[in-house]
Amino acid sequence: MSTVTYRDALNQALKEEMQRDDRVFLMGEEVGVYQGAYKVSKGLLQEFGEMRVVDTPITELGFAGIGVGAAMVGLRPVIEFMTWNFALLAIDQVVNAAAKLLYMSGGQFNIPIVFRGPNGAALQLSAQHSQAFESWLAHIPGLKVVSPGTPRDAKGLLKSAIRDDNPVVFFEGEMLYNTKGDVPDEEYVIPIGQAELKREGDHCTIVTYGKSALMAVQVADQLEKDGIRVDVVDLRTIRPMDVAAITASVRKTNRAVVLEEGWEVCGVGAQIVDHIQRDCFDDLDAPVIRVHQADVPMPYAKNLERAAKPDVAKTIAAVKKVMYLPD
């Protein structure tokens, strides 16, 4: 084991997969000469050259489509979006092309591509740079959607995503890049579609993924001091969702809080709650509570931004509420 940042874990995954398979290339804005807007691609241009680490003009729609076209004929592109906010310009290529081609060609053209980049709020970037889009893409059949919260998961899942023969949407977190964690020194992959229990407890379940998994762990650690033991189910993958892991935990704890960075309405949490009510109806001792971003565009001012985001205190309050405990 080594202690590695989330950023470097992703860098290792890219590097190892590019060494392993020369069909893999990285394309996006500032990935090469600038070494990555968030330095995820540091050193890759020097090692692999400009045919495999391709700086693009600012053309999300264009280079996402170039990736899909290259994948149609056998390459394995990794398309980096500087942030998912900008990827909205490319959503036609993700939704109408990458996710559809296998189906509408009757199984002839699979698209082995990864679309990746940071998602969700950072600090005071305001409305156009602080959005969490998992639910948009998790809605689409034909895609896999991954959102790791730790360096170990980030590396193992990015390697799986690159090896996957389907389009994979990979959500990172701007606020995660500097976080550190243990990463195995030996080669490993983490399968897409498998949740992991990040904390074990029998009083309440928190179901979450991505950056929020870190928050959930903090919540669990803090509640443990009060004798409240929380199961933290880190989904890691949103589509396909590890429903069995959710239901196993809720059947044990009989209570659930669903935590996500995104907005409430039609969010990923709504889907999780639906699975819980269908599969664990008789196991529940309290209604499931969701913790999410306020239903507003992200404000700039520090105090308003804080009020809009989910946080440890709001999540603790939710856990206490489903346990019918006083605040």
Partner: protein
Amino acid sequence: MAQAKIKKKAEPAAGSEGTTAEERQVLLRSMLLQRRFEERCAEAYALGRIGGFCHLYIGQEAVGAGAMAALRADDYIITTYRDHGQALARGLSPRAIMAELFGRSDGCARGKGGSMHLFDRSLNFLGGHGIVGGHVPLGAGVGFAIKYRGGDQVCLCFMGESVVNTGAFHEALNMASLWKLPVVFLIENNRYGMGTALERASSIHDIYLRAASYDMPRAYVDGQDVLAVRSATLEAVRRARTESTPTLLEVRTYRFMGHSMSDAVSGTYRTKAELEEHMKRDPIMVLRIQMQEAGEIDDAGMAKLDEDVKAIVQDAWDFAEASPEPPLESLHEDVLVETST
């Protein structure tokens, strides 16, 4: 980029030099097959055998036939939703196409794609795509992959003239020229984006001139003359193959039918008189007259060819009608593949 400046002047491509009598026969047959096939498509649509959107190519057959004749078997084609004629010209089985249009399990996309989404991996036919402009970056991406591998294939990317106003077109052509990708961007200018005339949609009416924005070689050609289309495409393909340089080729054609089966052929956005004027240059007639004058075909030969082609189309119809509907279990197939690596 010095090399890429070779053909900046647009010139209508010349006539029949460079084709053999046999090649002209093949082109005539290809166009006639497209025509007869689509006439039966219109009939099938009226009978409810074909549903959804169905965009006919009638009037534009010289573009598909001529352009396809300029390609090698290992080259790639990507196109729009008006794709029946090009698919036939590339050699997709008329049976598999008709079965697809009928929504049957023997269709070239197992009944999952329909009229707008014909595919054949074995022929490098990368599909009909339904979002105007959306497939142009894909075409550039195929070119990128060819260059990445060091191959000498070419990607032929068809599009309608209304595509030139989309952002996807601009982004793709800029990168294709910047990175010198082996792609031929072939615009089938049939004068109307659905019901909006070119002059009402594009600030530039000679749309091949758009290529100047990307420092890209460009040309325009008479799209009703299949030999001219073939010749112009060959030049663009040669430039892509040997110089890895893209070309914007504007092929000026006209559709004789409505935008799709659901709109009137004329009367709203174009006059009957305009339509009739253009129909005087039916691409099949243009080549037939050239061949007749050269003594390469006579009325009996034409009648025989027509009978042959009609028989192929009838066989395709019969095959499609006999083909079973897709099994219900196929509903959930082809969403994802099992990963092999």
